[in-house]
Symmetry: C2
Subunit: 137 residues, 2 copies
DNA sequence: CCAAGACATTGATGCTCGTCTATCTCTCTG
DNA sequence: CAGAGAGATAGACGAGCATCAATGTCTTGG
């Protein structure tokens, strides 16, 4: 597998740190472009196949709100019991959406006793935001 | 309608210019948060309903590559005839995907004679990238 | 050990989506 | 004006998705 376009792991350093988007190092000849934004150089088919599932996971109003609730929660994590109450949807439906976000690599799951806590992978969100949002050169 | 979270029009100035993501003005009490990123404050249900269609439009490998091809094309625009050749898909399928991107507000269409040119709405991409990618405070 | 509660899983249902073939509309050329 | 070519539209079809009710799996308290 080639170098990932999206950094999912908070432990891994970002090759394009947030805020550095305007001073991206110029592309080295022969080297794969890491974090190549959408507007600079064409995404390969395989890169597109890699990124699309992340966007698809986010491309639902309920999941967007879930991500926002979790990411903005004090402490960086939220209990499922709190999330369930924030929506007018059944508990299995919320559980399903959380699983979609977790499988996409946008949430981390942590079970502590009876309760389950989800945490946002801010690195993945940052990478995705840079990929989409960086302006053309 | 409340103030839009996503700036679609290149003529309109961005309330959160690219690169300004780390120095966002502190939220004024009582004022709606413009361009409130995903990780800061919870998206309302209506805001999520507004943003999700944009992400859904992008959340397809073919459309991601189309956006990338158009956005990175010299001159900022690309002819449909060139785009058709870049994919192993039928012409109506490409036309359909371009329409989805245009209806979402991510592409502008310009017919000149026999040919049709599409141009990326970089402002919309920038807003979307900031919304997703800005880190929590 | 048992009952209760938190969350996940299963299976069903109706809707949306990506793709295709066929056809249509528009514009230029001869 | 007729034909050709560029691109859009229409309709069909199979796959995928969001939701729910019902049920299953853990974990804790008594």
């Amino acid at each position: 597998m080639s170098k990932s376009l999206i950094v999912l792991d908070d432990q891994t350093s970002l090759c394009c740190a947030p805020g550095a988007q305007l001073q991206l190092p110029s592309q080295q000849a022969g080297q794969p472009v890491c974090c190549a934004p959408l507007s600079r150089g064409q995404l390969t088919a395989s890169q597109a196949e890699e990124v699309a599932p992340l966007l698809k996971a986010l491309a639902d109003p309920v999941r967007l709100r879930l991500m926002s609730l979790v990411a903005s929660h004090p402490g960086g994590e939220a209990c499922v019991c709190d999330l369930n109450e924030a929506f007018d949807l059944s508990q299995p439906t919320i559980s399903h959406h959380l699983k979609v976000l977790k499988d996409a690599g946008l949430l981390d799951r942590d079970k502590r006793g009876v309760w389950v806590y989800y945490r946002a992978r801010t690195q993945a969100l940052a990478s995705l935001g840079l990929l989409i949002g960086s302006p053309p050169l």
